[in-house]
């Protein structure tokens, strides 16, 4: 299955591009995607996750098709589908 990932702020700088298509095994969850991305770069992992406990840092925001992960029924365990759009941003709000 292929999903589209859009990076904002710090994450765009780390990854070096605005967006990309990522291929994942069918049945992968949102957290599986984040783990796959973090596997590619220690810096990405450090910025995204709390060092202890592996949770996403509270100032980072991940949205699936415009809905923040906190508001998905299954949160980060939500299963992804072909063509989903995932946004990853750090410390942006206020306007």
């Amino acid at each position: 299955m292929k999903v589209n990932v859009v990076y904002l702020t710090t994450f765009r700088e780390i990854v070096g591009r605005r967006s990309e298509t990522v291929e994942l095994p069918d049945g992968s969850t949102l957290m599986d995607l984040l783990e796959t991305l973090a596997e590619r770069s220690q810096k990405f992992r450090k910025e995204l996750f709390n060092p202890e406990g592996g949770e996403i840092r509270s100032y980072n925001k991940v949205a699936l098709n415009g809905i923040y992960a906190e508001y998905l029924n299954e949160k980060f365990a939500t299963k992804l589908r072909e063509g989903d759009k995932i946004l990853i941003a750090q410390g942006v709000s206020g306007g």
Binding site: V6, G91, V92, S93, G95
Partner: protein, 640 residues
């Protein structure tokens, strides 16, 4: 009586432009204790001195510049000044604020406010050099753009002089003209037009005095602690890197980004004008205001093409919306140029772009025709027309003369159902938040004292799910609903509480600009910290709940001012596009703003009358505003 607190300059300047008189008076200690400064002073003076029903262009309108007890002290993000008047755009309470170095300079000169009344017989500017206060002939700067004015006055008076001025738009009484300083704008409410109507071109200030603090050691120790917190804040870090344009792509993804006069909240083109692209391709360096750690101003360079510029200002998120996507324009070179034009003429970009997009939609629907526009063809994405209209509005030429009245007045002249497409509240064009995609913003626009506005309540806790901050400030019981921007639960509480906090920030002149205000929302800098900072600076003993009361007092007095002008519940409204037309796409698809439900709850929390939106005597007296209750009663404007 002499002023008794430290931290303040302790004096205000009164200028009667008609009589060409200036006097310096002691600041009232009682006013400082009850209203602190900034918009608190503006509100109190407007209430006391501007009679109901007065035409905002009447010489008897007041134009008030005010700073606060933390101005010039180096307290982080306290570099703003506030300007207020009865607004010529809305006919009600009007204000706007601006950062830079003007506020600290006024404090160094030893003043807390300047109040203008009357109208000069010929163009003048005010020159304040410590104790010397003079009205001077403005013949060298009248007709000049805002940056030319600053340059000329700095050449005349010295490079350390700080200048706030209105541009040609203010001189021409464009109803949404602003006041500029160092390319930053006190943009909203048409205060620049009030300045122009008084034939006051600029206020130039130089000061050389120290700011005396009640407990300097304690104050600097505490401010260093707060600065350390700010430096670690991720929201400030991203704001420092990108400025407000970083919001463009994010707000587009949640479909809250106004496109084509709010017809929808999403466009595939947002990335072409977002903060990341600007940083990569245009930015030269970072700049900030006095004492600011977020440095959100980013001078840019447009390297080539017809709009090539060596040193241009980065358009804010709001301007990228108003001059860009709202008019279906995604050419950054053009938006940067249009933004510069608005700044040089001294015009609010939000109202400029909002009014133009209203006209385009009406043209698209056949309501406005070539006969109205003097032959101009209006269409979405037409960059040349955008630039031409900005020029025409500022000069009040042709069709621009109609648009210079603002979209609501213009629609009343055009008629034919054009009113339906005016995206305004109380005559003020709505900023870049589609309330259907964030219900708290919908309510905030409806209740704001200066007409449609996001900054009077600045409800951010639901914008991108601020769970942690909600728990820190209010407790776990507000989750999950408060953090959900499409759920109306707790939103009236969020807006009411935000209005009081923002009124307090505006009285202390703390910058709320997006990310920089977020530490306020973590509980790191909240009422207790503001109380402590004010005590260390001034010696005034106001505790955290006293601070909150000041915020609430200011909100209620602004409402009382508006009630006196005829405002009631019927005016706390939104365009039917937000209340009747469901959002067409993205996460808010199918949503409208459930305004009546939100308002019922909001008035209840405020202690205002639910039917009328008027303020009961009991509420006013609890806020030490008995005299206000008495005068509203005499006018029959207390609830029955």
């Amino acid at each position: 009586m002499a002023f008794k607190f430290k931290g303040y300059g302790g004096k205000i300047i009164r200028v009667d432009l008609g009589r060409e008189k200036t006097v310096s008076q002691p600041l009232s200690s009682d006013m400082a204790k009850k209203f602190l400064g900034g918009n608190g002073f503006v509100t109190k003076i407007l209430w006391d001195e501007v009679k109901p029903g007065l035409d905002p262009f009447d010489p008897e309108n007041r134009l008030i510049f005010a700073i606060g007890p933390l101005s010039g002290t180096g307290w982080p993000q306290a570099g703003r000044f506030e300007v207020g008047a009865k607004s010529p755009l809305t006919g009600i309470y009007g204000d706007a604020s601006c950062c830079g170095h003007w506020a600290s300079e006024l404090k160094f000169a030893g003043y807390d406010a300047i109040v203008f009344q009357g109208r000069a017989s010929k163009p003048v500017y005010l020159w304040v050099d410590d104790d010397k206060v003079e009205l001077k002939d403005a013949k060298d700067v009248w007709g000049k753009t805002t940056s030319e004015t600053e340059k000329i006055l700095r050449e005349q008076h010295g490079k350390d002089v700080q200048v706030a001025s209105c541009g040609p738009a203010g001189e021409n009484l464009v109803r949404f003209a602003g006041i500029l300083h160092q390319r930053r704008a006190a943009a909203r409410s048409g205060i620049g037009a009030v300045m122009g109507s008084k034939k006051l071109k600029a206020v130039a200030v130089h000061g050389s005095k120290d700011v005396a603090l009640a407990d300097p050691e304690g104050f600097y120790k505490f401010s260093r602690e707060i600065i350390e917190l700010y430096k670690r804040d991720k929201f400030i870090e991203s704001r420092a890197k990108y400025g407000t344009p970083i919001l463009v792509e994010l707000m587009n993804e949640i479909a809250r980004w106004p496109v084509k006069n709010f017809q929808t909240g999403y466009t595939p083109h947002a990335k072409e004008i977002g903060g990341e692209r600007i940083r990569e391709e245009y930015r030269i360096k970072d700049r900030a205001s006095f004492g600011c750690w977020a440095r959100c101003e980013k001078p840019l360079m447009v390297k080539q093409g017809p709009y090539r510029r060596i040193y241009a200002k980065q358009p804010e998120y709001e301007s990228l919306s108003a001059l860009g996507a709202r008019n279906w324009i995604h050419n950054l070179d053009v938006i940067i140029y249009a933004n510069e034009l608005c700044d040089e003429y001294g015009m609010d970009t939000i109202s400029t772009g909002g009014t133009i997009s209203w006209a385009i939609e009406c043209y698209e629907k056949g309501i406005i025709t070539k006969e109205d526009t003097g032959g101009l063809i209006l269409s979405w994405g037409n960059t040349e027309t955008l630039i031409e209209l900005i020029n025409k509005i500022a000069k009040r030429e042709g069709f621009g003369n109609l648009l210079a009245e603002g979209s609501l007045r213009a629609s009343k002249k055009i008629g034919k159902g054009s009113e339906k497409y005016v995206m305004h509240v109380k005559g003020m064009e709505i900023a870049a938040q589609d309330g259907r995609a964030q219900k708290s913003m919908g309510l905030a626009h409806a209740t704001s004292s200066r007409g449609a506005d996001h900054l009077k309540a600045f409800p951010l806790l639901d914008e991108v799910v601020m769970n942690e901050y909600i728990v820190a400030r209010y407790g776990r019981e507000y989750l999950p609903e408060m953090a959900n921007r499409l759920d109306i639960k707790h939103k009236p509480f969020e807006v009411k509480d935000g209005e009081e906090l923002c009124a307090l920030c505006d009285s202390l002149l703390l910058c709320k600009s997006a990310g920089t205000s977020l530490p306020l929302f973590t509980g790191a800098v909240y009422y207790p910290e503001m109380a402590k900072a004010v005590k260390l600076a001034t010696g005034m003993n106001i505790d955290a709940s006293g601070m909150r009361t000041i915020g609430e007092r200011i909100v209620n007095l602004q409402r009382a001012f508006n009630i006196r002008e005829g405002i009631s519940r019927k005016d706390d409204t939104l365009p039917s596009r937000f209340t009747e037309e469901p959002a067409p796409e993205g996460p808010p698809k199918g949503h409208v703003v459930e305004l009546e439900q939100l308002l019922d709850e909001y008035y209840k929390l405020r202690g205002w009358d639910k039917e009328t939106g008027l303020i009961p005597r009991k509420k006013l007296e609890a806020l030490d505003l008995k005299d206000v209750a008495d005068s509203l009663e005499a006018m029959g404007k207390l609830p029955r």
